[in-house]
Each structure stands twice: as structure tokens, then as C-alpha cells.
């Protein structure tokens, strides 16, 4: 028995040494981690994002990589759950990634924040949720617009373009919705636009008629709808069922093809705050658009998810170029990023601002014949 166990330990040791040596030889690849919802309710957001991340990595690798080093993606599914996201970030850090792209949902970002302090690996997240960059956490970067810009854009558009003298708000009860509502309240007060009614929707609710009835009672001139997920299409439908005639401005979470399709006729004419106008292709979006058109057909239109995935990889690539082989310098590299023009707009980071995109990148589109058409960019 003893010889057997000695033999076993010997094999273990050998295996350890071999795998260590093998790991060493992989150093000329740059590992970037990805933690996105590939299953569960948010998977319709995560799957296309990971597609575009892979596309971007391939694109960079085919064009010289990062100073000759190839990007190696380590992709993990967070199942739309915060606890899985937390474990993903830990395991990715163990694998020696330079940074992590993700997560997607606001609550997941808040959940992984303490883990980042432990692992010291920076993340670039896709949340609009305002508070994530206000936690004082040096490792959190935003690869999106912040809802503080998005909400202001919605209010400005409602009052200036649509001439509404008051608004009503429907928002979901998660961090995304509640923080946006708080921002809307503050900004509406500043702009002197009264919020005549506001109702909180259950995240994932399948019926919003009760809340709609309450806000329609106040006769708003415009309705701001802030949330994500299937409840948004339910809300659009219920609104039209109950005879709402006020124009609706939806959040970025509403500007999804699946929601528009699901809402059917109720989505016609609805305005949405988003990151791009699918009917227009900017010069920075062209390389991505060309790849996707070749893959999916000439009339393919870029979605938010295509853009943010692509951008996130490029942002990290720039920062890693600066950092070289020193992982601890990636944060510095990110903070030195100025005027980086990518598909979503111009990215600016600084030691005291991890926001990324500004209000100049915010688009408002309108649904016409089931398609999103650009109306105004920049607020």
C-alpha cells in the first residue's frame, strides 16, 4: 500500500510540474475573461454579446494581435445569476486573465464588486446602472452609457422635441430601474418637469395593467418606461390595450428586437434611448458591420449587443498594449484611454471617471414598421 501511495504522489508531482511548464509556454497569449449570461432569463442579452466579443478577438488576432500576442478568451456563463457571476470572477482571476468583460446585469455588477477588490482584476461592464461606478471601486469600468446621461436625454427629448409639459414613469424594481427613477426624479426637478405619476413594476411581471391604470389616471403627456426583460413588452402591450395615447420613451433595456417583436403593434411609434441607430452605420462601426453582413446577409443591422462586445475587447486591447506583460498596469492603461473612437462612440476614461461614454453617444430612436430608426444623437 505504501509503495502505491508513493507512486501516486510521484505521478501527481510530475503532473504538476508538466502542467506548470505548459502554462508557462502559453504566456504569449493574452487571456481576457468573459462572464456573461448564456443561459437563464438574460441570455438573450448575453449570447449576442459573446458572439461579438469572439468576433472582435478574432479580428484583432488577425490584424497583428496585441503587439504580436494573441487574445485568448476565457468564457464563463453566469446563468443570469449573481452568485454564479461572483464565482466566475473568482475562477477567472485564478486563470490569470488580464481583465474581465461583463457582467451584463446591474445587480450582478454590484455583487462582484467586492470580489474585484480581492482579485485586483479590472472589469469592463455593460451596465447602465448608475451606481456601479460610484462605489469607489478602482477596478470597475463602464463600457456603456450611464443611465444618468440616458435619463437626462429622455427627459430633454420629451420636453424639447415632444413638447411634453409633464411625464409619468413606469420602472422595474431592480437596481437598473430604481436607480434610473431616482435620477429621473432629480433631473426632472432641475428641468422643472413635473412627474405626475410613477409606478414600480415587478421585474419579470406578466401583467402591468394595474400600474398603467394608476398612471393613466394622472393623464401624463409622455410616459417614460425604464426597465428590461419581458415585462417591457408586456408593459407596451398593456399600455395600448388600456388606450394610452401619450408618447412612450423607453430605456435601453426596451430597445431590443425581441421586445419590439413581442409587443407587436404596441411598439409602433415608441421612442427608445439606445446606443446606436440601426439604420445608420458610422465609420467606426463599419468593420464590425461588414463582418456581420457577410455572416448574416446584406440587410443585417447592428444591435447594441454587437457593438458593446466589440468595443469592450478593443478597450481592453488598448489598455493591455500599455500594460505589456504587467497585469497590475491594466487599470492604469484603462484610465489613460482618451478619445478612443469605437462602434459605440468616443470612450474617455480618467483616474476619477470610469464612465466611458458620455451623453454625446446617446441616441434616441423610434420604432417605424417594426424597425428602430434614428431620430437624434447626442444630448
Amino acid at each position: 500500500m505504501k509503495t502505491l501511495s508513493i507512486l501516486r504522489s510521484g505521478c501527481l508531482l510530475a503532473g504538476l510540474l508538466i502542467s506548470a511548464g505548459w502554462a508557462q509556454s502559453q504566456e504569449d497569449s493574452v487571456k481576457i475573461g468573459v462572464s456573461e449570461p448564456l443561459s437563464g432569463p438574460a441570455s438573450s442579452l448575453g449570447v449576442p454579446v459573446v458572439e461579438s466579443i469572439k468576433t472582435a478577438a478574432e479580428f484583432i488576432n488577425n490584424n497583428g494581435g496585441i503587439d504580436g500576442r494573441k487574445i485568448e478568451l476565457v468564457i464563463r456563463d453566469d446563468q443570469s445569476r449573481a452568485d454564479v457571476a461572483v464565482q466566475n470572477f473568482r475562477r477567472l482571476a485564478e486563470e490569470g486573465v488580464y481583465g474581465v468583460i461583463g457582467p451584463n446585469q446591474g445587480s450582478n455588477a454590484l455583487a462582484v464588486a467586492p470580489v474585484l477588490l480581492e482579485t485586483k482584476v479590472p472589469m469592463c461592464g455593460f451596465q447602465n446602472t448608475i451606481s456601479i461606478t460610484k462605489l469607489g471601486n478602482p477596478y470597475i469600468f463602464r463600457c456603456q452609457t450611464s443611465d444618468s446621461d440616458n435619463t437626462r436625454a429622455a427627459l430633454k427629448f420629451a420636453s424639447e422635441k415632444l413638447g411634453a409639459k409633464n411625464v409619468a414613469v413606469l420602472y422595474t424594481g431592480d437596481a437598473y430601474g430604481t436607480e434610473a427613477f431616482a435620477a429621473l426624479e432629480a433631473e426632472a426637478k432641475e428641468m422643472n418637469i413635473p412627474i405626475v405619476a410613477a409606478e414600480k413594476l415587478n421585474y419579470g411581471a406578466s401583467d402591468t395593467t394595474a400600474e398603467w391604470t394608476k398612471i393613466l389616471g394622472a393623464q401624463p403627456e409622455a410616459v417614460i418606461l425604464w426597465g428590461s426583460g419581458s415585462t417591457m413588452s408586456v408593459a407596451l402591450r398593456n399600455g395600448s390595450q388600456l388606450g394610452n395615447t401619450a408618447p412612450i420613451i423607453g430605456a435601453q433595456g426596451v430597445a431590443a428586437a425581441a421586445i419590439i417583436e413581442s409587443a407587436g403593434a404596441a411598439a409602433e411609434g415608441v421612442y427608445m434611448v439606445t446606443l446606436n441607430a440601426p439604420d445608420q452605420v458610422s465609420p467606426e462601426q463599419k468593420p464590425l458591420s461588414d463582418i456581420y453582413k457577410e455572416r448574416n446577409g446584406e440587410d443585417y443591422k447592428l444591435t447594441i449587443y454587437d457593438i458593446i462586445g466589440w468595443d469592450a475587447v478593443h478597450i481592453f486591447a488598448e489598455a493591455i498594449k500599455y500594460a505589456g506583460e504587467d497585469r497590475s498596469k491594466v487599470v492604469e492603461g484603462l484610465e489613460k484611454t482618451q478619445g478612443l473612437k469605437l462602434a459605440g462612440g468616443t470612450y474617455n476614461y480618467a483616474p476619477d471617471s470610469h464612465e466611458g461614454l458620455g451623453s454625446d453617444s446617446v441616441w434616441i430612436v423610434q420604432v417605424k414598421d417594426g424597425e428602430m430608426v434614428g431620430v437624434q444623437k447626442g444630448f
Binding site: 504522489s9 501527481l12 504538476l16 502542467s19 448564456l38 443561459s39 437563464g40 441570455s43 456563463d77 443570469s80 445569476r81 449573481a82 452568485d83 461572483v86 464565482q87 473568482r90 475562477r91 485564478e94 446591474g106 445587480s107 454590484l110 455583487a111 464588486a113 467586492p114 470580489v115 480581492e118 424594481g173 431592480d174 437596481a175 430604481t178 421585474y203
Partner: protein
């Protein structure tokens, strides 16, 4: 007792296993397997021995986790207190609910516990001031002695493993005592039990409370290890999965519960390529297993043993 010998052998294997385990990922799996074991054994005690079914185990799991979280973060009490509260509070809730409801038939409890689980989930989501709603509670300090902290995979492996072995050992012991025999009598026939003077309502409520307390303990372990709690871990789906795990492992056996817990933890890893389609595998395994052998994996083991016994009998001594 043969079962204790098996337990001992497993104990040794468990102690030595970290020599072979390389990655934090594998430790992670074992830790969750141990946590799940505590949960499923709780269900097994309730179901297999008191004949009652619970679809609300995740709710008690959640109470335990939130208790540990809230007491150590908001109220800044040492993690140990959180651990104790995590056991007591769910147990108390279990007893209070159990007393009146357990008079009813088995599936009534199933639906009441499902309802309870849903209500608890709603509380976790809506009571934002206390639970943080969907954003949950982060930064839960881990139990630590010196530099050994429950956050490290290796330490947690030993901690959760120790708890699992303790729970298993106690449960096996319990079944053999008068208490356990009373429980089994109750399961076979409520009327006969009462005729023997066994206070069935009280006993059932106690088993329910025990099961709930165990779930709470598991919840505290979870909170310690992950350092974050949010409502999404404590949904009705989680409860359903636990019950199905027990069914596949073997409802009427504690060992079946252990099998089930490990399966529940490892199957998603084996099938992680499937992503969303994993549910098909789980459902199919349940349906096929229960249709062929209602006693689950444990039942299959018993059948094998019976087969071997028969072979041995046929062969000359």
C-alpha cells in the same frame, strides 16, 4: 454498523482528496456538493421518514443565508452568531408553520411549502431595506481563525465537508434511535403511530423544524463562502431541484440523499455545454429513474446487492 464503516472510509478519502485536487474550480464543486448534501439530507429526513414532502427548502436556505449575511454586515456581529441564528430562525419558522399544516396530507405540505418558498422569495426581493432586494448583500465577512478564512476554497472544503459528515453521521444515528423508529412508524401508518401513543403532529413538526434548521445551516455556509447573497439563489426552481435530487438519489434513504446531492452538483458541470438545455437532462433523468426504480439510485444499489446475495447463495459455501 456497516454504514458507519463506510462513512469512516469516506472520511479518510475526503481528508486526503485535496492532494489530488488541483483547481479552485474542483474544490468549488465539492463545497457546493457538501452544502447541497446538508440540504437534501434535511429533505430526506422529512420525506423519507416522516412521509412529508417539502417544496420550500430553498426558502429556509435563504433565511439562513440572509440571517448570516445581515447579522454580520448590517449589525456587525461576529460570523459565529450569524451561523447560530441561521439554524435557529428557520427551525423556528418551520416549527410554527409545521405544527398546524402537518396535520394535513403529504401533498398539502408540498404546496404549502412551495407557497412559503415563493412568499419568502418575495420578501427577499421586496424588503429592500433589510435584504437589499435584487442587489443583495455583499461583503459578508467570512468565518476566520487567524489566517484561515472560510473564503479560501481549501479551508471551505474542509469546513463544509466537516459539516456534511457531521450532519450525515447524526442523521444516520437519529434513524436508529427511538426517535427515528417513531418517525418510521409514523411514515408507515399515521393511525398505528397514534395508537402507540406517538404524538404525530408534534413529531412531524419537529422533523420539519430539523429539516429547516439544516437548510439554514447550509445557507450560512453558502453566505460565508460566496460572500454575497441575493434572491436569485433561493427560488422555487432551487427547491424543485433539491427535491428532484432526492428523488433520483433515493427518497427513502439518507445515502440516496447524499448521492442525489452530489449528482445535483456535478451534473450541471458535466453538461455545462448544454447551457439552457440542461433542464431536459435533469427532467429526463428524473422521469426515467423514477419510472424504472422508484427508490432511485439507492434502490438500484439495493437491487444489485440482492442480486449478488442470490449469486452467493447459489454458489456452494
Amino acid at each position: 454498523m456497516r454504514q458507519f464503516h463506510v462513512l469512516l472510509a469516506l472520511l479518510v478519502a475526503w481528508l486526503l482528496a485535496p492532494l489530488a485536487i488541483q483547481t479552485g474550480g474542483t474544490f468549488n464543486l465539492f463545497i457546493f456538493a457538501f452544502i447541497n448534501l446538508v440540504l437534501v439530507v434535511g429533505l430526506a429526513l422529512l420525506f423519507g421518514y416522516a412521509g412529508q414532502i417539502s417544496l420550500g427548502q430553498a426558502g429556509f436556505y435563504g433565511i439562513g443565508a440572509y440571517m448570516a449575511a445581515i447579522l454580520s454586515t448590517r449589525m456587525e456581529l461576529p460570523p459565529f452568531i450569524g451561523l447560530i441564528a441561521a439554524i435557529i430562525v428557520p427551525a423556528a419558522v418551520g416549527y410554527v408553520i409545521g405544527r398546524p399544516v402537518l396535520r394535513l396530507r403529504g401533498y398539502y405540505l408540498a404546496m404549502v411549502t412551495a407557497a412559503l418558498g415563493l412568499i419568502l422569495h418575495t420578501i427577499f426581493v421586496e424588503w429592500v431595506d433589510v435584504t437589499g432586494g435584487y442587489s443583495g448583500i455583499t461583503g459578508i465577512p467570512a468565518l476566520s481563525i487567524g489566517s484561515l478564512t472560510a473564503r479560501s476554497p481549501l479551508i471551505m472544503y474542509y469546513l463544509s465537508g466537516a459539516v456534511a459528515f457531521m450532519v450525515m453521521g447524526l442523521a444516520l444515528r437519529l434513524v436508529d434511535t427511538a426517535y427515528g423508529r417513531a418517525m418510521r412508524t409514523m411514515r408507515e401508518s399515521d393511525m398505528a403511530a397514534r395508537a402507540c401513543g406517538i404524538p404525530t403532529s408534534k413529531l412531524k413538526a419537529e422533523v420539519f423544524a430539523l429539516s429547516a434548521g439544516m437548510s439554514g445551516l447550509a445557507g450560512a455556509l453558502y453566505a460565508q463562502y460566496v460572500g454575497f447573497v441575493s434572491p436569485e439563489s433561493f427560488t422555487i426552481d432551487a427547491s424543485i431541484n433539491l427535491l428532484l435530487a432526492l428523488a433520483v438519489g433515493g427518497v427513502s434513504s439518507l445515502w440516496g440523499a447524499a448521492f442525489g446531492a452530489f449528482l445535483l452538483t456535478f451534473m450541471p458541470e458535466w453538461f455545462h455545454e448544454l447551457q439552457n438545455a440542461y433542464g431536459l437532462v435533469l427532467g429526463a433523468v428524473v422521469v426515467v429513474m423514477l419510472t424504472l426504480e422508484p427508490r432511485g439510485l439507492w434502490g438500484i444499489l439495493l437491487r444489485l446487492r440482492a442480486l449478488l446475495e442470490k449469486r452467493r447463495q447459489v454458489a456452494p459455501a
